[in-house]
Assembly symmetry: C2
């Protein structure tokens, strides 16, 4: 015959480190997660966008971030002179491609533009727990011309809360802050480099309050009073407008601070119907990225304190500014699907219901009854069931064992002889009863 | 404020040639297509598998094909000495990664293993009509230890036929042949290089019967009788077992030919209930790839003759042989989703129902009624509707216009004053009636 592989040199089939893949029964759960996430996004009217995985390096570098992690592409057999692909790379997030997309299709979109985007992204990082080189993110953003209503700052964490509840994630907290509060507070305390303080304060999880205090004093030259105020601000927590009073009690005053507190208070009030602790104002979070300008989000598992954020985002002023001469502010949040899912798989917290989507296996009683079995399966499929037909008239025990190994819940027996009824066996209950394929319900 | 882009150097936002992206209303149709395809795959019990986009070049080269089109990866800032990523590339099909996957997880899979895989693949080709550098394929394969029952050779085109019917694709024909018939026929006519003849015969679409005849005679040295027999075989068509008689009448005899004709006849008989012309035996198709060993599939649009195949595949003997010392034959078929979809977009044959998934827009009558409006939207969402709340208490006309521009079919008016009922307006019909959010149905 037409053999392909004549020489049996064996290539290692294990996947590459940092590029996760799942067994079918685990993938089935991931698929259910993706369905749940997409349904929630659509329930709030977000529309689907997909962008190419590949962008020009000019586009990828437009935000000025993480470019050292970008994977660039080159054709294997490219001529030495052929530089046509030399400027392409895989996207490392979905925000930059989305900004480019909005600029490219500006005249064809309805604003405020609410989009969701569920795609793989790539980063050439060293793989470690929770860090992958290829992973799936689930983003929602609202982008608008000139200004984005505060409504959306509250809507995004609500959607995420619904999703995490439906997925039955282990205990976690969505934390909210507002960069205007931080910047306005620092300015109100006469600190000359508020952005510098934000960057230091953002490390409080890693270096602790003492570490932050020392750095603020030693490296940024803050006075003891200023340091005390900054540390006191970072300790403020709360799930209602009382955080505003607490911050106000810390003494700073500035227009920016008032504006930020109004926004933070609006978001907390809008989310007042959520269960206590679901969304919490946490004045210590800052998000390192420079482009956030208002609300910021960060979500952590309560039970895995060192694991870092599983869902982050915030408000930005003008992310598409490198592509179009329009002011297009936005607010967005991103669920780190692979990060979360892989962690729960590793913790043994993912329960699977088998690998196959099949509801029913139809057995083939004999070669003579084959076409009747196939017709039965077709009828059940038109009625909305997922149905496998066993592939040949093997011994019955073997056919039933196949259903059992694939955790298919029902086995259908078409008549073995004329005049006998169809029967269906519940694999869980073990009972076998006669049934009509035109009317049967599990 | 914390501006990101200080210098406004504009980067061209248009996507790169060969990397398609769609407007939201077109993407929405693509998403419906993907849902339809996945549902059909699951209806037949195929389970979902996803593999990383990235494989080692050793894996990608294991089939010995198309490697010059592979995109290799390199980190932008990789050290000159750092060759850790030097051997990675993007997959160019889903068959090679699937073979690696089966080998890697052999002990954890249930055989016959039926999987579907819907993913993007990349090829560094010159972009042209129907050829993209990034595109989505939808594959199903059945792989088994030692042998794959002929049942599956018939099941795959049936699934594809159902999908294409549900998608209401323009007229198309799924063509079937069997490589054993070709090889056995050529051998039976005393032709020494049957594989060479298959490769030439595969070009009949491009160079015509005369071209094939000339090449067989001039380049492969076939006798006039042999050429006549080959051309006669390629002209055989039919949708039932009568093709077997036709081939038999052409005089060749060999065990391989009989085996191939039995298989072809089995598949055609199994598909006998499909509408006439849906699946046709076409003895001229061969599929160029050397690894096919039995049934082969090829599908073309009747109305776009030069466009090439939109869904192809076939049976192979041992695709995982480079990864594992097991005999794992399989049969598979692949729908070229992006190829098909982009063609129908270009032909103006894709009809969209608007960009937003929303069923209802709830307006905000006034700031005082804001929380009531939000609560109404939440109630409608728990009842399964996709609901947007307008973001602020703008003039009503502006809020309704937003629904109209996004083609949201219903606009919901919560009470403007105490004691008034809720009302809902059908944007298509124009009628506005009172309604209860707890019981309303469109």
């Amino acid at each position: 015959m037409l053999a392909l592989v004549t020489e049996h040199q064996i290539v290692r089939p294990t996947p590459i480190s940092g590029f996760p893949e799942w067994l079918p029964e685990v993938r089935r759960v991931e698929l259910r997660w993706l369905d749940t996430i997409r349904a929630a996004f659509e329930r709030y009217g977000f529309c689907s966008v997909e962008t190419p995985s590949v962008e020009s390096l000019d586009v990828l570098a437009s935000k000025g971030e993480t470019s050292q992690e970008v994977y660039t592409l080159r054709r294997l057999q490219a001529d030495a002179d052929d530089h046509s692909d030399a400027r392409l790379g895989l996207h490392f997030d979905l925000t930059v491609p989305f900004a480019r997309y909005v600029a490219a299709h500006f005249n064809d979109l309805v604003f405020p533009f609410k989009r969701y985007q569920i795609q793989r992204v790539w980063r050439g990082e060293r793989p470690q727990e929770g860090r992958f080189r290829e992973f799936t993110q689930c983003d929602i953003d609202v982008i608008n011309v000139d200004s984005v209503p505060a409504h959306f700052d509250a809507e995004l964490p609500r959607v995420v809360h619904e999703i995490f509840t439906e997925l039955a994630l282990p205990a976690r907290t969505i934390r909210i802050n507002n960069r205007k509060v931080l910047q306005g507070f620092y300015e109100g305390h006469g600190i000359g480099d508020p952005l510098g303080v934000i960057r230091v304060a953002d490390k409080i999880d890693k270096i602790g309050s003492d570490g932050v205090a020392r750095t603020l004093s030693d490296e940024l030259g803050l006075s003891a009073d200023q340091v005390t105020a900054c540390i006191a601000l970072a300790a403020v927590r709360g799930s209602d407008a009382s955080v505003v009073e607490e911050v106000t009690r810390l003494g700073a005053k500035s227009d920016l601070l008032s504006e930020g507190l109004d926004e933070l208070s609006f978001v907390l009030t809008e989310l007042g119907d959520l269960p206590p602790g679901a969304v919490v104002a946490d004045l210590s979070i800052a998000r390192g990225l420079d482009y956030y300008t208002g609300t910021v989000y960060e979500t952590t598992f309560d039970g895995f304190p060192g694991f870092g954020s599983i869902c982050s985002g915030g408000r930005y002023d003008d992310l598409a500014g490198s592509f179009i001469r329009r002011n297009l502010p936005g607010v967005g949040i991103s669920i780190g699907l692979t990060r979360i899912f892989a962690k729960l798989v590793a913790e043994g917290l993912i329960e699977s219901a088998g690998s196959a989507p099949s509801d029913v296996l139809v057995v083939i009683p004999s070669d003579a009854r084959r076409s009747e079995a196939l017709a039965t399966a077709r009828l059940l499929r038109t009625r909305g069931f997922n149905v496998e037909t066993y592939h040949q008239a093997d011994k019955l025990a073997k056919q039933v064992r196949y259903a059992s190994r694939k955790a298919i819940p029902y086995v259908w027996f078409p008549p073995f002889d004329d005049g006998r009824p169809h029967e269906v066996k519940s694999m869980a209950g073990g009972d076998q009863v006669s049934a009509d394929p035109a009317t049967w319900r599990p």
